[in-house]
């Protein structure tokens, strides 16, 4: 039986202004198991990124309950949420969000430096190199992000997301800022990672890449349009 990594029960999110209340998410129920590769898709403004932010503890839900590896993380403090993000979640952003002043090595090592039990330098180095090898960029370890192409920068971002051995990778439009060739390369890396056992939840509006996932979740107006469709791995 698969282990549930993320469980969302009736998660809702609404924004209040003086005049109206906007529901960005409505009663989302979703479970992502160990080894899953889930693609969340839907039109612009349907709540994809909001859902991903709540799943990544970047934002808080207005209602419902949220579990990571069976632990209720709905009402964590900001610092507790930071610890969970660091240990359990790897983020990959559309615009890479690498830190320009830091080298590739330091960018990738960053999550380990914020780890509650900060590893020693040798362990950090070993782990960073392993991750960079996984994305095929170990030869660029000393470069600065602005010396890399967009595709390479996104692969460095993937290495950074992997470095702390997270329970799940949350990926937000990973190809949005890339040309098709680079996008294909990045998606290939993600596919390989999933095949190697990494759990991935990806937001994308590109049906071609959504099809690469084994589970597809369709969102419309803040609600899951259809039950997750599971693609059987070939």
């Amino acid at each position: 039986m698969s282990t549930a990594i993320l469980t969302l029960n009736n998660i809702g999110k609404f924004f209040e202004t003086e005049e109206l209340e906007t529901h960005a998410l409505k009663s989302i129920n979703l479970t992502i198991n160990q080894g899953d590769y889930v693609a969340i898709s839907g039109p612009s403004g349907c709540g994809k990124s909001t859902l991903l932010s709540i799943m990544g503890l970047l934002d808080v839900s207005s209602s419902g309950e949220y579990y990571i590896e069976g632990v209720n993380v709905t009402d964590l403090s900001l610092d507790q949420a930071a610890d969970v993000r660091n240990a359990k979640i790897g983020f990959i952003f559309q615009s890479f969000n690498l830190i320009d002043e830091l080298s590739v090595f330091d960018n990738v090592a960053l999550p380990l430096r914020y780890h509650a039990d900060k590893p020693n330098s040798a362990t950090i180095k070993k782990r960073v190199i392993e991750c960079l090898e996984k994305v095929g960029l170990s030869h660029r370890i000393s470069h600065k992000p602005n010396q890399l192409s967009g595709g390479q920068q996104q692969r460095v971002a993937i290495a950074r997301a992997l470095v702390a051995n997270p329970a799940v990778l949350l990926v937000d439009e990973p190809t949005g800022n890339l040309d098709s060739k680079s996008a294909d390369q990045v998606m290939e890396v993600l596919d390989q990672l999933n095949k190697a056992g990494t759990t991935i939840c990806m937001v994308t509006h590109d049906p071609r890449y959504a099809d690469m996932a084994r589970t597809k979740v369709q969102l419309l107006d803040g609600a899951i349009l259809q039950a997750p469709s599971i693609k059987i791995a070939s």
Binding site: S53, G56, V60, L78, D83, N86, Y114, R160
Partner: protein, 802 residues
């Protein structure tokens, strides 16, 4: 610039009340202070004197040159002054003036008034306007002895209740009756010939000046109250100053040398007369004060501008999106500039409006507090100059700040702001520039705060230092005694003392001047011929007991010492130590036959830390000064004093009646003002610097918003982010502190002589305190901008990054 732009700017600023408040209040107060000082500088240094042919008006200084060619005195002797007045041909008009105080005994309240004794041409020379009546004329010329008086407008209102028939009245002063012949107009501006603090209330003819007949004939005694001013003839204006000085010197010095030829003391001595333009004479030391104020105000403006520039930098970053949209829909660079100009102009206009209010208040404050120290301060008013300077500053600052904002905007990159991640690639202030701004803020703030704190400490120490004598319940009284023989005066004063001691409110009476008043006297030691120039005063046997000034060796004066005017003195411990460094000063004798019989503890004069050699000698029984000690909780007032005097003799009048606490407060005024000013300046500097640092660091944080968001997304906690920002700014902070230390060191090395009184190792805790305050301020400035990121879910920092 059109109304639409201004309206847009107004609406945009309405959304940012804290920014508007910071800019308007900072610039308004700073510009107000600067404009106040600029107007003061204009009035004192540039504005012509409000008198006809003011460039031909000169003051003449009388220098007594010793046989060692040193200037021994800078005041006229009476005969020399009269000789100059009568014989000179350099000036087409000349004025003699002598200032003094007196009591108008013909008025029920017997008010004390400030009097100027003048010659008739004073009225034409200073173009005096009359409210009613006339000024002095030929009928009041020197030696005419015509007893008439002219009142100032204020004296007419205050002392005579503005009575319309005042010209029919007489006033009595010093036993003489004077017919009031005129009142000066309210608009009349008195030339401050006797110093900034002296405001004449009553003008009397020169003949009645209070110099005794004996003194009027003494060629060797100079008097600082004697003033000569003249309007130089046209034909002499081409002469050099030296030529004119020589003409006057020759006239006076040769005559003087003939007159004193019989005095061996004056052998080899001479007189030199020096002319100085009246404007320079009136300004004298005030010029230095104005320049210091100007430097201070410009320094404040510099800090304010630096800080406001930082706020504008932050504001421009915030407006990046708005500017980008404007550019995208076709706004040219010039149009964007007009957009920025409208907003900046609106802010500066509001600041200038606030500044006008600050100027108005500032003028009142300057006139109230500095009226006694700086000349021409009464002429301060909102004028064409202050208005023009305001407009100039408004335009200048608007252009400077707009230009700064525009320089930050990379017009060609604005479009990508809309298209890309919004990481601020349209507007960037380099990290190096940010660090320079932080370091300069820290350096300026640390140096200024430390200097202000040092001055504050010094001033507060002066205010709080123990004086070594009692001031509570004691009033100092100066009597105006009628002209009479000394014995008769002594009888009157003795009778008055007895009358006062019989009063139920009076505990004790001492016949002496207030404790802060001393004269300078020369004493020559009997055995060594060593000459001492010492401060001395005459007192009676009750003085030390009343003031609780302890006799530490020997004895106090006895009643017999005073009554018989014995040749004895009491010295303070400082002088005793000079007289007998290794032994007792008791029994030490001087050539005038006076012997030291006691040593008294030194006192601190309010407002000064220097304790000088002083001695006390028996006062004459005819001395016209008294100290009156009241019983605890009792107040013996001026009216009760006058009543007591009238019981003794109706001709006795009261010259002054002031408590020792009031004297103390007057002497401490400068220290209190310094303490308040430096404290305000230190706080203002901290606030301004805090504002500036916040501006830079807020900008810096905005620049790093997505980086901070990313770090938090991958597990950084709030404290990690705070540590990161602190660590990143520590270098700039350290450089700022180091620069301030170097600046202070350079100041110390460059001005060690002047600053030696202020600088000691005791200042180390103050320096550490200053560093602590600046560090706290910097920490707050680092932390506060981060709160918007670390106290909210991470998504707030990451918004817009996708």
């Amino acid at each position: 610039m059109n109304i639409y732009l201004i309206k847009q700017a107004y609406l945009s600023l309405k959304q940012k009340p804290i920014f508007v408040f910071s800019v308007v209040s900072t610039m308004g107060i700073t510009l107000g202070a600067l404009l106040c000082v600029l107007t003061l500088a204009y009035v004192m240094l540039i504005k012509p004197l409000p008198y006809p042919d003011q460039d031909r008006l000169y003051h003449v200084e009388h220098q007594l040159i010793s046989n060692e060619n040193a200037i021994d005195g800078r005041a006229f002797t009476y005969p020399n002054l009269m000789h100059l007045y009568n014989e000179q041909s350099l000036f087409e008009q000349s004025v003699l003036m002598y200032v003094d105080g007196g009591v108008i005994t013909s008025l029920p309240s017997e008010p004390m008034v400030a009097i100027s004794f003048i010659t008739p041409q004073w009225f034409s020379l200073f173009s005096a306007k009359m409210a009613i009546g006339r000024g002095f004329e030929e009928s009041e010329k020197v030696n005419s002895y015509n007893p008439v008086a002219v009142l100032t407008y204020e004296a007419w209102q205050d002392k005579f209740n503005g009575e319309a028939n005042v010209l029919e009245k007489s006033l009595t002063l010093g036993g003489n009756s004077y017919l009031i012949i005129g009142v000066l107009a309210k608009s009349n501006i008195e030339a401050p010939l006797a110093g900034a603090g002296f405001k004449t209330e009553l003008y009397l003819p020169w003949d009645y000046n209070s110099i005794s007949e004996r003194e009027r004939k003494r060629w060797g005694n100079d008097d600082g109250g004697l003033i000569f001013v003249g309007k130089i003839k046209e034909e002499y204006t081409e002469n050099s100053k030296q030529q004119n000085d020589q003409i006057l010197t020759t006239l006076v010095s040769e005559n003087w040398q003939n007159e004193v030829s019989g005095h061996a003391f004056f052998k080899g001595w001479s007189i030199a007369l020096k002319t100085k333009s009246l404007k320079s004479f009136i300004i004298s030391d005030g010029e230095r004060s104005v320049y210091l104020l100007l430097i201070g105000a410009l320094g404040l403006l510099f800090i304010a501008c630096a800080n406001i520039a930082n706020l504008f930098v932050s504001r421009t970053v915030e407006r990046q999106q708005q500017l980008a949209i404007s550019a995208a829909v076709g706004a040219s660079r010039a149009q964007l500039f007009r957009n920025v100009l409208a907003e900046t102009g609106l802010l500066m206009f509001a600041a200038i409006l606030l500044a006008q209010f600050v100027i108005f208040v500032g003028f009142s404050v300057l006139q109230y507090y500095l009226g006694n120290f700086l000349p021409r301060i009464d002429e301060l008013e909102l004028s064409a100059f202050s208005f023009s300077a305001s407009i100039l500053l408004l335009v200048l600052l608007t252009v400077v700040f707009s230009h700064l904002c525009l320089k930050m905007i990379n017009y060609h990159a604005l479009n990508s702001t809309l298209q890309s991640s919004g990481k601020g690639n349209g507007i960037q202030v380099s990290k190096r520039m940010r660090n320079i701004l932080i370091s300069s803020q820290i350096a300026t703030a640390t140096a200024l705060v430390f200097i202000n704190v040092v001055l504050y400490k010094d001033a507060i120490e002066l205010v709080n230092q123990p004086l070594g004598y009692q001031t509570n319940n004691i009033t100092s009284v100066v009597l105006a005694l009628p002209n009479a023989e000394s014995d008769l005066k002594a009888q009157k004063v003795t009778a008055l003392k007895a009358e006062l001691l019989a009063h139920p409110k009076v505990k004790n009476v001492s016949q002496a001047m207030r404790p802060t008043g001393f004269g300078t006297l020369a004493l020559t030691a009997m055995t060594t011929d060593h000459r001492y120039t010492v401060l001395g005063k005459d007192i009676d046997d009750q003085y030390f007991n009343m003031l609780k000034q302890a006799i530490v060796e020997g004895e106090n004066f006895s009643a017999a010492d005073i009554k018989d005017d014995r040749s004895v003195m009491i010295v303070n411990d400082v002088f005793a130590n000079k007289l007998a460094p290794n032994g007792s000063a008791i029994g030490f004798k001087f050539k005038n036959g006076v012997e030291v019989i006691g040593v008294v503890e030194s006192i601190n004069l309010p407002g000064t830390q220097r304790i000088e050699s002083r001695f006390y000698y028996p006062a004459s029984l005819a001395r016209n000064m008294l100290l009156i000690e009241q019983h605890q909780g009792q107040i013996f007032n001026r009216d009760e004093m006058i009543s007591a005097m009238k019981i003794v003799d109706k001709k006795l009048s009261l010259f002054s009646f002031i408590t020792l606490d009031e004297y103390k407060d007057r002497r401490l005024f400068s220290s209190v003002t310094t303490a308040v000013t430096t404290l305000v300046l230190a706080i203002l500097t901290l606030l301004l610097s805090g504002l500036g640092l916040y501006g830079i660091l807020n900008y810096s944080s905005q620049m790093r918003r997505f980086e901070i968001g990313t770090r938090m997304a991958i597990g950084a906690k709030g404290k990690d982010i705070v540590q990161l920002v602190f660590k990143d700014n520590a270098g700039a902070l350290g450089i700022g502190l180091a620069v301030s230390f170097i600046v202070l060191l350079v100041l110390y090395l460059g001005f060690s002589e002047t600053l030696s009184a202020y600088i000691s190792l005791d200042l180390l805790p103050l320096f550490i305190l200053t560093l602590g305050a600046i560090s706290l301020l910097s920490s707050l400035a680092c932390y506060l901008p981060l709160r918007q990121f670390i106290k909210k879910p991470v998504i707030h920092s990451l918004k817009g990054s996708e």
